[in-house]
């Protein structure tokens, strides 16, 4: 087998370092017992960024409205718990995935015939419509203030959520993230995932070889929306509230920024980006609220100009340079 073919044949195999994030995740549980609330937020954000990576990094769909699905999942769980008494967490996640996925499929079916700035605007408008809907339907959604003080049944009937130390929430989020990650990893290395990458790289050629481009994109969009919905549901279950910021442009732009910062189209970019962005924000934002925004702005400009593949892209370039020198 030629080296190139070998690389293609073996790249889906699990490498030793892929265990590191999960070991770190479990280690963090014991090392930082006082920061588990923050850790849970990071895990939720990683999952959200991962769902965006599927559409943006792999399928090449640029969207500014991904928080629509995060919010859809969050509101599904919150409204089911507040109005229907449906407080079982795991089935809540499934319901959130179904609702968000359905919205994703429906909106993707309509929107994905466009591209570029038009698509960006259409996704933004879809999200704004949902946000306005949540704002207006105050009887069901709590309007601008959202629904605070939700009660959820204990996890698997044995582990209650505690809002003081977030112990069960953290492990729950870690487990859900792991399950979703395995799913996404399988997906991007499957023939389906390969065809998404093909569409990103050269749409015309994919049309020419007879790939059903639009159907593939819509399905990827739907799957990604469902994952974002799971992230939103996790957010609501962990923090026991939902409000309108789960649907806002801030959240959509924030997740886009941190994914690019980490490096899109490479699975672990979501991890690196979410951790780097949120830790920096957590540490700096309290001390220098204005300078923090300045720093984020400068970082973004630098990434757009010099490091288009984010932190992981830089790391790859550095390691490639080292290995080529050794050879």
């Amino acid at each position: 087998m030629s080296p190139a073919a070998q690389a293609f044949a073996s790249r889906h195999r699990v490498k030793w370092w892929e265990a590191l994030p999960w070991i770190a995740g479990i280690a963090a549980f014991f090392a930082f017992p006082n920061y588990l609330s923050f850790g849970t937020q990071v895990l939720v954000t990683i999952l959200f960024a991962l769902s965006l990576d599927l559409v943006m990094g792999y399928a090449g769909i640029i969207t500014l409205g991904h928080a629509a699905f995060f919010g859809a999942g969050a509101y599904t769980v919150a409204m089911a718990a507040a109005h229907l008494g449906w407080t079982e967490p795991l089935s809540g996640l499934a319901a959130a995935a179904l609702v968000a996925g359905a919205i994703g499929l429906a909106s993707g079916y309509v929107l994905l015939r466009t591209q570029g700035l038009t698509l960006l605007m259409l996704t933004l408008c879809t999200m704004a419509l949902l946000e306005e809907g949540a704002n207006m339907g105050a009887r069901y959604t709590g309007g601008f203030d959202g629904i605070p003080g939700l009660q959820f049944a204990p996890l698997l009937g044995a582990f209650p959520f505690d809002l003081l130390f977030f112990r069960s929430q953290y492990l729950y989020a870690l487990a859900v993230l792991f399950a979703c990650f395995v799913l996404v990893r399988l997906l991007v290395y499957s023939p389906f995932g390969q065809s998404l990458t093909g569409i990103r790289e050269n749409v015309l050629r994919m049309h020419a070889v007879g790939a059903p481009v639009r159907a593939r994109l819509v399905i990827a969009y739907g799957i990604s929306a469902a994952l974002a919905g799971v992230a939103g549901a996790l957010f609501t279950q962990a923090t026991a509230y939902v409000n309108i910021t789960t649907l806002g442009l801030d959240r959509a732009a924030g997740v886009l920024i941190l994914l690019i910062l980490g490096g899109h189209g490479r699975l672990y970019g979501a991890f690196v980006g979410a951790i780097a962005y949120m830790v920096l924000e957590h540490v700096l934002a309290k001390a220098y609220p204005t300078a923090w925004q300045l720093g984020i702005g400068l970082t973004l400009m630098a990434v757009a100009l010099y490091a288009r593949n984010g932190i992981l892209g830089l790391a790859e370039a550095v390691s490639r340079r080292f290995s080529s020198r050794r050879a």
Binding site: L122, N135, I296, L300, M301, V303
Partner: protein, 257 residues
């Protein structure tokens, strides 16, 4: 120019600040302050364009979006640091206050002046783009940069000029609108969606398109908010959604070749 520039609102805000501060601290009259805002922002944006934007003309839309969002953050926080987070107020000169009798209706003088001035600028822009040599060069360079360069058009200089002009006009817009829209450091982020909607609906690269889209959206948004106050901003987004699905290239945009 075919660049996804989310920082346009930030230039408008900078212009607004330059105008307001020139009037407050140096006691400049309103028209002179407007001219100063235009000139200051045009020069500033020309520098930024030459140094930074020029590297990204051939980059993907994603990189352009990212870069300009970053620029917005930088400008927003710089202004907050330098001037402070509070809202700035514009003190209008005597001759623009009060109301004017138009014969059939009495209306705010300032609003009338803004409408007249805006129409004048639009007319000049339209004439400039469609009827002058410079406008023809710009349109040619946007449509096919390499061909225009082959024919001897200095596209680099042309784009810098166009960009400076666009940002300067944004500055004037920021100054004129400050009285109506308010002026504070969060301004570019708050109106980002509106600017984008107007441009996307009007169609890129069409001055007349932007004008009609702005008028259409402004009027519809206003009327619908009065008629159905409970609808909030929902209509504007729904409308944009439908319009863009119907005509992805914008109402007046040309079909992509």
């Amino acid at each position: 120019m075919g660049f996804v520039n989310l920082a346009h609102g930030a230039f408008a805000m900078l212009g607004g600040y330059a105008i307001v501060l020139a009037m407050q601290h140096w006691g400049w009259p309103f028209p002179a302050a407007l001219a100063l805002g235009f000139a200051a922002v045009a020069v500033f944006s020309a520098v930024i364009e030459r140094l930074l934007y020029a590297r990204l003309y051939r980059a993907s839309e994603l990189d352009q979006v990212l870069f300009t969002i970053g620029l917005v953050f930088v400008i927003v926080s710089s202004v907050t640091l330098a001037v402070g987070p509070e809202t700035q107020t514009v003190v209008l000169p005597e001759w623009l206050r009060g109301q004017t009798d138009l014969g059939f209706i009495r209306y705010r003088t300032y609003s009338l002046a803004v409408i007249a001035f805006g129409t004048l600028i639009m007319a000049m822009l339209w004439l400039g783009f469609e009827r002058t040599r410079l406008g023809a060069k710009i349109r040619a360079a946007v449509d096919n940069r390499r061909m225009a360069e082959s024919l001897g058009v200095d596209v680099r200089r042309l784009f810098t000029l166009t960009f400076a002009l666009g940002s300067g006009l944004a500055a004037v817009g920021g100054g004129l609108g400050a009285e109506i829209l308010g002026l504070d450091p969060q301004y570019p982020l708050r109106y980002l969606a509106y600017f984008l909607i107007v441009v996307a609906v009007g169609g890129l690269g069409r001055v007349t398109g932007v004008f009609f889209a702005a008028a259409l959206i402004g009027v519809l948004d206003f009327v619908l908010k009065i008629e159905f106050p409970q609808g909030g901003t929902m209509f504007i987004y729904a409308l944009t959604l439908v319009l863009l699905l119907w005509r992805p290239q914008g109402l007046f945009g040309r079909r992509a070749a």
